[in-house]
């Protein structure tokens, strides 16, 4: 059963019309094959994957790849992902953008914005901001905590 209603899917398709370059949704889960480590059940991994499958069908530019922590631990290390459900949004390059958790409610719009920006390889930030960011003297790791409503 789809996670997106037909009305929501139409809204997603409309938003993703701005996507003119390929974007890979690389999804990280655990327990997909029914193998579950007691005490480490991933409550939202199944829902997140179904939602991403629905989103991926809304644009011919999107592809979805799925890795399971139990069977594909190397992929987790390769993408620097340490939590599930986790998502790497990859465009012409890996910009280091990860989304952890189920992007439900308003956060689906956030994810769509990320996908479009990654596809374009640029953002709506001002030229001054972009220049400052390019010239940063050291690395910065941002963790932004959100909730779905």
């Amino acid at each position: 059963m789809p996670m997106l209603s037909e009305q929501d899917a139409e809204a997603v398709r409309n938003r993703l019309r701005a996507l003119i370059q390929p974007v890979r949704l690389v999804y990280f889960t655990e327990g997909r094959g029914g193998l579950i480590i007691p005490g480490r059940e991933c409550r939202y991994c199944g829902e997140t994957q179904r939602l991403l499958e629905d989103v991926a069908q809304c644009s011919s530019q999107l592809t979805l790849e799925v890795f399971d922590r139990i069977t594909d631990p190397d992929a987790f290390a390769r993408y620097g992902v340490d939590k599930v459900p986790g998502l790497a949004v990859i465009g012409a390059q890996d910009y280091g953008v990860r989304y952890y958790g189920l992007p439900a409610g308003y956060e689906l719009a956030t994810l769509l914005d990320i996908i479009v920006d990654v596809g374009r390889g640029t953002t709506g930030l001002t030229a001054d901001t972009r220049a400052t960011l390019t010239a940063l003297p050291a690395n910065v790791w941002l963790q932004v905590f959100v909730t779905p409503t």
């Binding site: 958790g101 640029t122 390019t134 003297p137 690395n139 941002l142 959100v146």
Partner: protein
Amino acid sequence: MAVESCRIRADIVEATEFPDLVSRYAVRGVPKTVLNDRLFFEGAAPEATLLAAVVDAAGKVAREDGT
């Protein structure tokens, strides 16, 4: 910002699914931004304000590294 700079990586974390991180970073409201695991920024902010926080965080690392 991560799209614009190879110096930045960005994790968006759905707070209710990761209570250990909520506890570690004392997240009591959202959005809350943690910069380099130690600087905190609470609430939504204009672009310039967030940029200033990012520049501050990068400057601290650069000073510590002596670069």
